[in-house]
């Protein structure tokens, strides 16, 4: 941006516009799942170092969000859901988003390495690379499996949190990884169903665009069944404790019920109630993940305090 262009602007970018580049809502999920990974680990962490580690994991996730907004500025502009983001609206330049993304990525990785350890920092660097390059630049525009494989990026935070505490990984954080990984497809396909023409207009090969809505509904059912089997099964494999198992049974029964409703519906029924079932399923999917990780956290705290 030149001085002249800065003077011509009627409204300069505010600090909040740059914060918006970091996708704060996604960051909240990252913070929570990374915190559960950190606290569920068997090694106690100094509270301030734990706080710093979570902060830098969140910053790294935010940085990858800024890189995603830089790369996807063209399609964000034509999608209703993303058209109000700072880059498509012209509040922040695409180059600025790139600079913020790269700068904050470097700060987050180095600071996590110094505050926690270099295993966690390496995992964070890989996560940023996976989301910005593998998902945003490659998968998103080339295959309907984009969010299936790309979901791995969102699944890493509990592994990074665990690594920040222990300096390595073991089975438990990878089970948490798998839980988020399997949860991502039904969550995003439900969104794709009620966002209707968004992905079509942008030319993003979501399942709804390449295979149609009926196939997407069947995929939601299949992945939800897989997720339910995994989620409940993980409760018997050392992940969490009785609270997790109880929460998993109830949540998965409800999630399967919602997926079944979506599967049985056709487009005419969905349009008649403005995709109420799909929207409810999407909202519940957020609760589903939050309660799963909340239960894991409670179980870990009960073990740490000697109750379990």
């Amino acid at each position: 941006m030149t001085d002249a262009s800065a003077l011509d602007r009627t409204r300069d970018a505010r600090f909040g516009d740059y914060v918006e580049l970091l996708k704060p809502r996604v960051m909240s999920l990252v913070v929570f799942t990374a915190l559960v990974g950190l606290l569920a680990a068997p090694v106690p962490v100094h509270p301030f170092l734990g706080f710093a580690a979570i902060l830098f994991i969140a910053l790294g996730a935010g940085a990858s969000g800024a890189l995603n907004m830089w790369w996807d500025a063209d399609i964000d502009k034509v999608m209703r859901r993303t058209a109000r983001r700072p880059v498509p609206q012209g509040r922040v330049g695409a180059g600025e988003a790139l600079a913020v993304g790269l700068g904050l990525s470097g700060i987050a990785v180095v600071m996590l390495g110094l505050a926690a350890n270099w295993t966690a920092a390496g995992l964070l660097a890989f996560t940023i690379f996976f989301y910005a390059v593998v998902y945003s630049m490659w998968l998103k525009r080339s295959t309907p499996q984009n969010i299936v494989i790309g979901g791995a990026a969102g699944a890493f935070p509990p592994v990074i949190g665990w690594a920040a505490a222990t300096g390595g990984t073991s089975l438990e954080p990878w089970l948490m990884f798998a839980l988020i990984f399997l949860w991502t497809p039904p969550h995003f396909w439900a969104l794709a169903l009620f966002m209707r023409e968004d992905y079509h207009r942008a030319g993003v090969p979501m399942l709804t665009v390449t295979h149609g809505r009926k196939a997407t509904r069947a995929h939601i059912m299949a992945y939800t069944a897989l997720l339910a089997a995994f989620s409940v099964g993980a409760g018997f494999s050392g992940l969490g404790g009785p609270l997790y198992l109880a929460a998993a049974v109830v949540l998965n029964a409800l999630f399967l019920l919602g997926a079944g409703r979506i599967w049985r519906r056709d487009e005419a029924a969905a349009e008649s109630d403005h995709y109420a079932v799909e929207k409810r399923f999407f909202r519940f999917s957020l609760v589903y993940l939050a309660v799963h990780f909340g239960a894991l956290l409670c179980d870990a705290l009960l073990v740490r305090t000697g109750v379990l």
């Binding site: 001085d3 002249a4 800065a6 003077l7 409204r11 300069d12 970018a13 505010r14 600090f15 909040g16 740059y18 914060v19 100094h46 301030f48 170092l49 710093a52 902060l55 700060i107 600071m111 110094l114 505050a115």
Partner: protein
């Protein structure tokens, strides 16, 4: 267009400048806090101070 000391641009950018300033102060405080926490945790902190560093001295066997 000349930039004056109190140009309108400064007022427009006040929120951004304040935000960046506060973020930098927070980062400095965080690095200070990490340092204190690491030392309190017993981490080894060494820097060159015109003295041989303890970790570079040859091990000496205790003699009777």
């Amino acid at each position: 267009m000349a930039l004056h000391r109190e140009h309108e641009l400064h007022r427009r950018r006040l929120s951004l400048n304040l935000g960046v300033g506060l973020a930098l102060v927070a980062l400095a405080a965080l690095i200070f806090g990490i340092t204190i926490a690491k030392i309190a945790n017993g981490s080894l902190m060494e820097a060159y101070d015109h003295q041989p560093r303890a970790s570079e001295l040859p091990l000496t066997e205790p003699t009777q």
